[in-house]
Every structure is written in structure tokens, then in C-alpha cells.
Symmetry: D2
Subunit: 403 residues, 4 copies
């Protein structure tokens, strides 16, 4: 027998500790503030929660050990991140929220020793936040990253960046930005991008506004950002020039999975709340949870939770083997984002009027999870990429048979 | 040939006038205020919009002619209400918003001449708003109206009402309430309810709070309301004592359909916005709207719009024939509420990040339409009622064959 | 009030007579032969059933009165065809089966007086059957009719046709063929097709084989047909040369709707059988039909039946107004074909093991209806066509605003 | 890191050998006989194929080593059974078809040494086939096993069995039967069943008929069977008296999973055929497989395949840990049966007319997989059982909190 799905005692213990922290400390704060991180106090509450997490030994489970983290691989992250995600503020509290979590991952893989010292260390320790500036308004880089229009032009001793970004999560209050800019080619080309590191207070970097969206739990907002002749020195290049799209893949595969882990936790909370409700409320001469149509909603939630988790386990294991896991992560992201939406929606439905009100957290959870079918690649783009690979392979096979 | 689906010139003209009014006057106000009627000014803006609607001759299309309305039957209301619903504020602007619209309908059918004079006349003219106080928190009257717990007890010259209601739309600022209270039997009994009319400022009637919900476009909120020894005189009984559940059906069948009409308008706006976006934006080397997966979303929206409209036409025609149309309205409501949710959701998806942001009205439309799968009977309750009738008929047929 | 959905007494009576005929005469024959028309006796049983239908005055309800039919318009056909479709053999029995029904419609609109005399008259009277030879195997005319490869070349006094067709319903035993062949242009061109009439016994016309398919109720099979230098005289041209694609639309819009009518009848039978079963069978301490999950299946069937019918009513009315009704027929066909599949599938599921066995007609109905999502244009093609028109209109509107 | 999803070299090799055998030997026979095992020669072809499998060292991968099998646990069976299931005849060919495979499993766990010698040994070696006689027509044991009506009454030296079974797979030609009969209590009681072993040729055991069903690939049919005073000696009791329902669970959990494994193989074949088609065929100016709506069908198939496999891996691992894995197997069975149906249906749709014809195996695969949503417990029953456990736990938790 080779398949093994149990976790080590260390991971199991970490999951339990994270669950306890979330239940005892984080959820009360989330609920008292309607899940709105700005209302709860943004960085003030972040520092407080992260300090408590640190003292409980559950801080930064994904970060390299040498930077104060627990060094978990992707497989072991799955149950821990899900436990943290049970509260909308949980990921922030244990320092695994987007985009910092993905940026830690990226810097650990690509940054130079000096860059690690200057940017990764304070980020991993929670001393500052970061932003990842890739997405642009139409017709720029969105679902199709090759449309990248932000330009970096060589200048003496560095580069001058001009461009317009949006949906830059956490930009407001970030200590530094990782900026994706085109250093060669034209919008539409599949290469020619470079990543740059820039302090947030550099002249020419402007956070214009928070874009108001359905979700409110992200610290630092989803922002619109402008670069006007932003200068970055040569040593600000992250990795190699023109290799930005490849690094983006390094970041995006795992980042997709950690998103699913976290939101799965939120979906489980919605399900737990709804099940607790229907197990108690009565109607039509019965406990609601004993009525067949409600049982169907409950069972479908269980199925969606189990399938999302099983696909996550698969994709994480593939990532841990060192491959790109492009199909497995696309599948887990697409199914997961849709399943999570369904789970929360059914939970709302099970609770009726209460479900659409703020007397329970379900209404806000339904707002929070909706964008996930768009963020990190809409379902349509993942399906398109998947099908292209599958049909492409079939075309090649046919050509080979024909020879 | 007997089937006829065209509308008279009068109705066609009214639709066009309503569309023009919505486009020119109402939508700009909705959009400037993020679709939040409280932000827009509640009754102040209501009076202003209704005055303009009156001057354009499109005010109260459903109200009896003798009360200043246009006297449309259900069939003719369908296209007019849909045109008004294209803006979230449109129904309020032409005075066909819930709950006033349904209350006008109810009073026109059931009220005594004196009650019509005192309550229907000012309501129909837009001089005051009203509330319909039926729904109660668990374990009271919700999806299952027979669970009614609010009690009216006979007192000298009238009745004394005690109870607790919630999700009472428009309660804050209403001039009067129609109150559903139990005058005989016990919670769970399928009879024994009576409707009462009470001025909002009667002692013992207290609007406790607005329940915060996903939707924000309803004037006067969804409120929690208490009756503490509220006294109503004998002449406040609407119709006959103990006949409340029957009158509720008089109100609910048509009210369900007018809800579908209005929300279908909102869904159409979402669709129109999304189609306009994908017809312009480019990605993956193509106009987005020429990509197959986007075409599928567009086509499915068209199908859902057409099917909702066709089911509405059927149900309205049956109501106009004078029957209860119980199956036809349950089908149109259930299909319509779910289809409207799908239409708006696909529209959001078509617009990606923009779709989940407040830069377009789609995010708020997605919030607004979600509760409709719960309000006016959750889909599960309508399906249950439908199946009970169908299976019940099959049981009877089997018994008859067996004899 | 202008909307009118009731039928005349004549139509109502015709529906009742058709139902009685189907119940008393046709269903017993269908069931005794497992729904396989070849087993039942093909043209022998056809002649017998049609003779009985004629004597009951319900024969050929769609055919022009001057050719012995009842001359119903599309709107009035809907309930009559649905009643006939309640048995898989019902449409054949009252002479409204594909492809004859559509061919009668086409010839009545396009044929010359001589052609009507020679082809339409015997067809309308049920003296001979016909075939419509359009579909070709890949890479020819299939979902995309413009791929037409069969060629007709001018010869002295007529045309010489060469080509390869398949899925030609009813070809085996047909008296004559309507043949779609390219008279100009090349495969891929959107014009250049002509329709020809040919007796089935003309030299060069060869019915190669029956294609075995999931459905078995079609008389004369779905056949593969070859034309090898088939000569047809000039007077065999149906309508004008090069106008074949336009005539195909004349035939296809209504033919799509009559397909939906007939299959809706079959779906209703499946539903009725399943409801009768669950109203009687017990399990889990209850009548199955009183269990919530079964109620949901029952209700969803009712919804799908009602929506299909409502969309049919709309599309037929539009066709009766004389327009192309392209959107309305595409919507009714796509929704209808999918809904009919769902209805039968749920009916199977409600009956469990019995449902997948031939002890009930449900298993065979599930086989019979599956191809309808492919025949007459797959759902994907209708969605594509719908979206193209909608997005195209939005593009034009944007261009106009830009000017 | 603890999660491990790779297989040993032995298992990987076995999968490859099984794939080769299926491709080279089994598929040609399946296709030449339209997937109908009776047409192919039933036990004659079975013996031939199994002999070849034995010589290739891939026979009976699940059977205990001491009985000539390869002794794989559930986890390792998953990829091997899926490889075999790629052909409808593959499971029979390597001797892992239902019901023999589940019966081997059951006897290995429950049978006495003498019973193993007499029944398990010849069964495991493929020398005879077996049947599992549990299901009864309504109102007997079906979805609800507690409705068991077949009775075994004590007689001198043994038991006398009377009852009526149906859907007894493989009954025609089986060497022996495992019979579930009630030894105490009444229909509706959740206990009181006993399993008995009986040779097929015992007097009083009568195989009445094959029930014609949508699926045709099962050797020995789905049969209706009668027991009329069938005598079995005391030593024919399998395990202990009155423990039959518990043993049924021992058999059913794993049997459900092996069903999913096999049908997943069949679904993958359907997908592969469809992808190969759309990668080659052209329409609408494109390769079909490059059109967005087709890409969506391809991607959804990939997602369904991956999710089914991932849920299988989870459930098998839980079974290998020795638990009942009741939730995990219910989830994998329910999701799997529905996903497999969707995969085959989409594959049919991708191929259009060809898809519903017997020119490709897709039409027959669509018939074959449909009953799986009913067999081994309809989806509704699994959902009900799942929800009961989940809601039950929530009720208990609420009671505990209340204390």
C-alpha cells in the first residue's frame, strides 16, 4: 500500500491550535465587525492578532523556517490554511492572507540574498505588508496576462516604470510592491515581462483609490494604482529580466491552491452555521433538517466540501513533487471556486430570511466568496487552458498516428 | 387562431413611456446613490420621482382608475412592471413597489368602502406608504404561514394585538399597517387568522430596527416590529374575522408575479450591461463576446429571460381569468427567482473584476436579487406545494381506479 | 386586455379526440412492441393507424384543408401535437411525424401547382412517405449547413446529383426525396444550395443502410443515402435555383417547434408514469412521493413542462405572425430539448430499478429523447446563433453611439 | 510531508499490463459485439478472456493471494480497476466484474474455512460465477433494505427459504447464490436478516427471466429469481444468523467503490473518443475542439474525471484504514455515478449525430452508465443517509450545549 492521506502529529496539532485560536480569538472579532477589516481596525488589529498567533506558535506556517515560519509544504498547508480560513480574518491573523502569503512564496523562490534580507525578512515576520501589482484594467493584463501594458524602460542605473494597475490587493498600507512590467515586446506577446521590487513610498507610485467590491475582508483593499515615471534601481529586478511570466507561474499555481484552502474554510463555516440552524428550527410539522429538500442541500454541501478537499490534496501533492501541476491546480481552482460558491449559497438558502440578513454571517460570506470565481483567473479561462492542453494532445496524437 | 400575445397600443405606449422615464430620470439617481434608497433620500426622493411619474401619466398603472391609477389587469402589468424594474428605484418611482403595490391590490379586493376611503385612497395616490405585517421570526409564521403566533384577542369595541414580526418591508415610515394575527386556533392550525388595519402611530406598535440584508433598494427597510397590547377597533378588521389566510392568498398570488416582473427588469439591465461590455472588450485575440464560453453565458441569459417572461404571461393570464392560478404562479415564481439569480450571476461573470466591483451596477444587482429566492416563499416551499398537489392528484386517481 | 391563451372549442375538441385515440388505440400498440416501429410492422401498422385516425376526424391536423388536412396554424398545432406525442407512435398515427409533417409544410409553401399535385397530394393524404435529404457526414453539411458538399450539376433538361447523405429519417420506404444540393459556390459558402424533388426509385438514388441509433420509433429509420449521377428534370427544382438555404429556414423553424411539441408529449407520459409510481410505492416509512427529494423531482418536472410549453406558445405565435421567429424558435428548441431530457431522466430516477428496465416505458423513452439535443441543431449551435445576434446588435449599438 | 499519492512500481506495472490487455484483446471483442456480452458469447468468451488474463499475470487483482489473486488493497485496486473498466468487458476479462468481485470480497471476510473451500476457491479462480440475491421488487428490499420480505424458516437440519428477488445480476449461469433472507422480525425492521449460500441447481431456486434493462454488458443478466421452499443446510449460513445486514455493509462499501472505479474507466473511454473526434472534425471555420463551447465540455469532463478519482482515492484509503468509511463511500458513489453520467453525456454531445449512433461506442456507453445512478443505492438514498448523519450530529451537539 502506498497511498497515505493522514497527517503527522505536528500538522494535526497545528490544525487543532489554529482552530482553537480562530474560535476563541478571531471569530469574535470578525463577527463584532461584520467581517469588514477596515471597521475592525486594519493594521492595528492585524498586529494584535498576529502577535497572539506568534505567541501560540502558529504564525506563518508557510514561511521558511529561517524567516520565522513553520516551513510547511503545500500538502501540509492544506488543512492548516482551511482551519485559518474558517474566519475571514483568520488568514490575516496567522499571516497567510493574500497577497503576502504568495509573495513570501515567490520571494523565497526567486529573490536574491540581498532582496530576501531587505524584503522577504520583514514581510515573513509580519513587520510590513506587500502588494503584487500585475492586473490592469482593460485592455491590459487581466484574464489574459499577455496583454500587459505597463512598461519599464531602461534608464541609467535602473528602470523607469509607467503604467496603470487595478485590483491590487493590499496596496493601501503595503510596505513594498512587486510590479509586473513589460521590458520587451508588445501587448499580446507571451513573453517580455519583468518583475520589480519597489518600496511603496517611492516617488511616482500612487495608490489612487480602493475599488469597492463585494468582498470587504481584505486588508489594504483592492486598489487602483498608477506608476508615473517610477524609478527602480537595477538591483530591484526580481530574478532575471524578461522572465516575469515564468515567475508569475511559480507564484500563481500555489497561490491558487492557498486561496482554495482559505475559502474552503469559510465555506465550511457557512455550512456549519446552516446545519446548526436546520437541526433546531421547525416548520411544516418537522425539524427543517429532517425534510428531504433540506437534506439534499446538506448532502450536496458535504459532497462539494469533500470533492474540493480531495482535489486540493491531489494538486498540492503534485506541486510538492516539483511539477507545474498546471492541470491539477486549474481543476482544483475551478471546481473549488464554484463549489465554495454553491456551498455558501445553499447555506444561505437553508436559513431563509435569516440567511440573507446580517443577523448571521451567511449574507456576508455570500458576498465574500463570489469574486473568487473571477479572481486568480475566471473559471472560463481555466477551462479554456485545460481544454487547449487536452485537445492539443489529441491533435498531436492524431498527427503521429497519421505518420 | 385564438392565441394572442401582442399588447394594445395603450400598453405599448405605456411601456415606452415608462422605459423613457426610467432611462432619463430614475437610473441616474439610482446610479448616483449606489442603489441605496436611504442614501438617495428615502421618502423625499420618492415624492419627487412619483410627482414626475404622475406628470408623465405613468403613475400607479395597477391601481383602480377611481383611485387615480391606470387600472391594468395582470397581463398588461407584466411588460410595464418589467420596464419599471429596469431600475431598482423604478418601481418606487411609478408607485408599484412592494409592499404598497400588493396592498393596493388587496384593499381594492377586500376593504370596506370606509376602509377604502381612509386607507386605500391615500395609499393609491402615494400620499402615504403602508406595510404588510405577516412574517414572524422562528418558530412563528415564515415559510409556513400556519405557524402564526401573533394574537388578537377580543376587547370591548375592538381587538388587542400582541406579537413579534420581522422582515416587514417598508415599515419604517409607513402610514399604516395591515397586520396578520391569530384570532382562533393555535400555531400550526391552517385557519384562524384575521387581517387588521392600524395606523402606524397607534400606541403599542413599535418599529424596532431595520434588519440589515443583502438588498438595499427597499424604502422603509425590512424591519422588526413589535405589537404590545396594540388596540384596533372593530372596524379595523379587513374583510371577515378568521379569513386572513384566504385573503393572504388573494394578495400573494399576484404579488409573487409582480415581484417577478420587477426583478426581471433588473436582470435584464444586468444582462444588457454585460453584453455591452463583452461586445467591446478584447482578450485572447478576440472580442470577448465572440468567444464560445461567453456566447454560452449570453445565450443562457436570453433563454432564462424568455422563459421567465413566458411563464409570467401564462400565470398572469390565469389570474386574469379569475382562478387561483396556484400552480402557474408557483412555477413562475420559482423558475423566475432562480433564473433571475442566474442571469445576474452570469452577467457578473462576463465582466470579471469589473463585475464584482461597484464600478458597474452588477455587484449590487447580485446582492439585490439573491433574497428573492427566499422572499415570498423559498423555492423549496413552492416546489413542495406543487409536488403535493401533483402527487395528491395521482393518489386520488389511483384510489378511483381501485374502486 | 389583449393576451389570450385559451383555445377554440374546435381545437380543444381535437385535443380531446387525439388523446382518446392515443390512449385507446396507439399506446397499446406502442407498448406491445417496445416502442420499436419496425417490430410493430412499419408501413403496415402505419396505414392501419392512419386509417383509424382518418375515421375519427383527427388525421393530418397541420395539412392544408384542400389536401385533406385540418389546416391548423402553428399555435393550434401545439396542444394537438403534444397530445399525439404522448405515444411514440402517435405522431405517425395522425400523420404528423417527422419528416413528412415538415415536408408537407415546406411543399405547401414552396411547391409549384404541378409539384403539389404530384408530391404534396399523396403525401398529405398518407398515400406515400417522404424524406428530406440535407444532412451529410463530416466534413459535409451537419450542424453547419453551409458545409454542404452534395453537388447538382446542370445537364440537358435537368440536373445530375452526386453526394452522400446520412441521418435521412424515413428514407427506407419513402416515395420521394427532397434533396438539398449545391448548385453554386463551394462548401463553406452561405449560399448556393438548391432543393430538388426525386422519386425514391430513380436510378442513382441508393438507401445504403439504417444507422443504428438510440431512438427506434422513427418509421423508415435514419438512413445513409448515396446519389450517384442521379438525374432530376428541370421541373424537379423546388422553388428557385440557389434558394435552398432560405427554404430550409422556412421548413426548419416550424419543424423545430413541432419536434418540441411531440417530444413534450412523450416527456409528459414519462412524468405521468413516474408520478403514478411514486404516489403508490412505499419506502422509508412513507409513500415515496411524499419524500422531499422525490417531491423536488416532481416539481422540477412540472416546472420544465410548463416552461417548455410557454416557450412553444410564444414561438408559435411569432411564427403565425409571419416572422422568422429565429430567436424564439432557437430558445424554445434549446430549452425544450434539454428540459425534455431532464424530465425523462428524473422520471427514470423516480422509478429506480424499474425505471431503467423495460418493464416500464421509461428506459426506452430515455433512449428516444436523447438524440433530440443533437437533431435539428445541437444546443451548442442554437446558443451560438442566439449569442451572435445579441452580441452583434450590441456591437452595432456601440458603433452608432460612437458616431 | 506525509501525503503520498504515487503507486508502487508493481501497481504501476499492473495498470500498464491491464491497459495493454484491454486495448489489444478486450476492446476489439467488445466493439465487434456492440458491447452485448450475450452476443459475444457469455461464459464461452469469459473463459477465453480470463485465460488470457491469467497468462498475462493480471487475473483477479483483488482476490486473496492464497486463492490465486494478487491481493491488492482498495487503494491499489482503484487504478487497476479503472484500467480494466476502459472496456465494458474488461472487468469480466480480469475477473473483477460485479457481482463476483464483491462476493469474493465478502466470502474472504465472512465465510468459514469449509465455505471458503467450497465456494470461494472456485469463484476466485473463475471456475464458477456467483450471484448476490438481496434486491426485491416493491414493496420489498430495494433502496430501503430493511423492507426485506424473503423469509428463511428453521427446518430440521437447515432452513427453508421462500421469496421473490429481482435485479439479481449474473444469476443466469451462476454456480451459487448468496441469499439474503429474513430470519427474524418483520419487513421494516432494521435487523433480522441472514445470509445463506446455496448452489444454483438446488431444487426450489428458479431463475425466471432476464429483466431487460438499459445496460447489456453484464454476464448472466439482471434476473428475476424465485425461492420456493428452497432448503439450505445449517452449514449454509454465512457468518452468524441475524447478522446479514452488517455483512451487507461489509460488502457494499467496497463494492460501491469498485463500481465507481470500473465505470470511471468506461467514462474515460467515452471522453477519449469524443476528444479525438473534436480534435479532428471541422465546422464553423474551425476545428470543433477549438470552439469555446466544445472546450467547456472537454474541460468539464476533465474536472469530473479528476474529482471522481480524487474522491475514490479518499474513500479507498479510509476503507483500507479499517473503518466503515460510510460518508466517504456515499460521497464517492453519489458524485461518481452522477459525474460518470455527465461525462458520457457530454461525450455524446461532442460527437453530434455520430454520438447517438452505434457507429461509435458512445450511444451504448450512455445506456450502460445510466443505471449506475440507481444501482447500489440511488443518489437520493445516499444523500439522505449522509444528511441524516450530519444533521443528527448537529442535533446532538445542540443538546450537549443545552445541558
Amino acid at each position: 500500500m502506498t497511498v497515505e492521506l493522514s497527517y503527522s502529529d505536528e500538522v494535526t496539532g497545528l490544525v487543532a491550535s489554529t482552530e482553537a485560536f480562530v474560535r476563541e480569538v478571531v471569530l469574535p472579532i470578525e463577527d463584532a465587525n461584520g467581517g469588514d477589516i477596515a471597521v475592525a481596525g486594519s493594521d492595528e488589529i492585524r498586529v494584535e492578532l498576529q502577535s497572539e498567533a506568534r505567541s501560540r506558535g502558529i504564525f506563518a506556517p508557510h514561511a521558511p523556517v529561517e524567516y520565522g515560519g513553520l516551513g510547511l509544504d503545500m500538502s501540509d498547508r492544506a488543512p492548516v490554511f482551511e482551519a485559518a480560513g474558517y474566519s475571514l480574518f483568520g488568514p490575516l491573523a496567522v499571516h497567510i492572507a493574500a497577497p503576502d502569503e504568495g509573495n513570501v512564496h515567490l520571494l523565497a523562490h526567486v529573490a536574491s540574498p540581498e532582496q530576501k534580507q531587505r524584503f522577504l525578512a520583514p514581510l515573513a515576520h509580519g513587520d510590513q505588508r506587500s502588494a503584487f501589482a500585475m492586473t490592469e484594467p482593460a485592455p491590459g493584463a487581466g484574464s489574459d496576462p499577455s496583454a500587459l501594458t505597463t512598461r519599464a524602460e531602461k534608464a541609467p542605473g535602473g528602470w523607469k516604470i509607467n503604467g496603470h494597475k487595478w485590483f491590487i490587493t493590499g496596496a493601501d498600507g503595503a510596505g513594498f510592491f512587486i510590479i509586473m512590467a513589460r521590458t520587451s515586446g508588445a501587448p499580446g506577446d507571451r513573453g517580455g515581462a519583468t518583475m520589480f521590487l519597489s518600496p511603496a513610498d517611492a516617488p511616482g507610485l500612487r495608490v489612487e483609490r480602493h475599488i469597492s467590491t463585494l468582498d470587504r475582508s481584505m486588508i489594504g483593499g483592492h486598489c487602483e494604482v498608477f506608476f508615473d515615471d517610477l524609478f527602480v534601481p537595477d538591483e530591484a529586478v526580481l530574478g532575471a529580466v524578461d522572465e516575469g511570466f515564468a515567475y508569475a507561474q511559480v507564484r500563481l499555481g500555489p497561490a491558487r491552491m492557498t486561496h482554495v484552502m482559505r475559502w474552503l474554510g469559510a465555506a465550511r463555516r457557512a455550512h456549519d452555521i446552516a446545519v446548526a440552524q436546520v437541526a433546531q428550527r421547525r416548520g411544516f410539522g418537522s425539524v427543517l433538517g429532517d425534510l428531504g429538500m433540506v437534506q439534499q442541500l446538506v448532502a450536496d454541501n458535504e459532497i462539494d466540501i469533500a470533492a474540493t478537499r480531495a482535489l486540493l490534496v491531489r494538486a498540492c501533492w503534485e506541486l510538492d513533487q516539483g511539477g507545474s501541476a498546471a492541470n491539477a491546480t486549474a481543476i482544483a481552482k475551478t471546481f473549488g471556486a464554484e463549489a465554495i460558491g454553491r456551498i455558501v449559497d445553499r447555506s444561505v438558502q437553508m436559513c431563509g430570511g435569516l440567511g440573507v440578513s446580517d443577523d448571521l454571517p451567511l449574507a456576508r460570506l455570500s458576498r465574500e466568496v463570489r469574486p473568487f470565481r473571477v479572481y486568480d483567473g475566471p473559471s472560463e479561462v481555466h477551462r479554456w487552458a485545460l481544454a487547449k492542453r487536452v485537445v492539443g494532445a489529441a491533435k498531436r496524437a492524431a498527427r503521429e498516428r497519421a505518420q
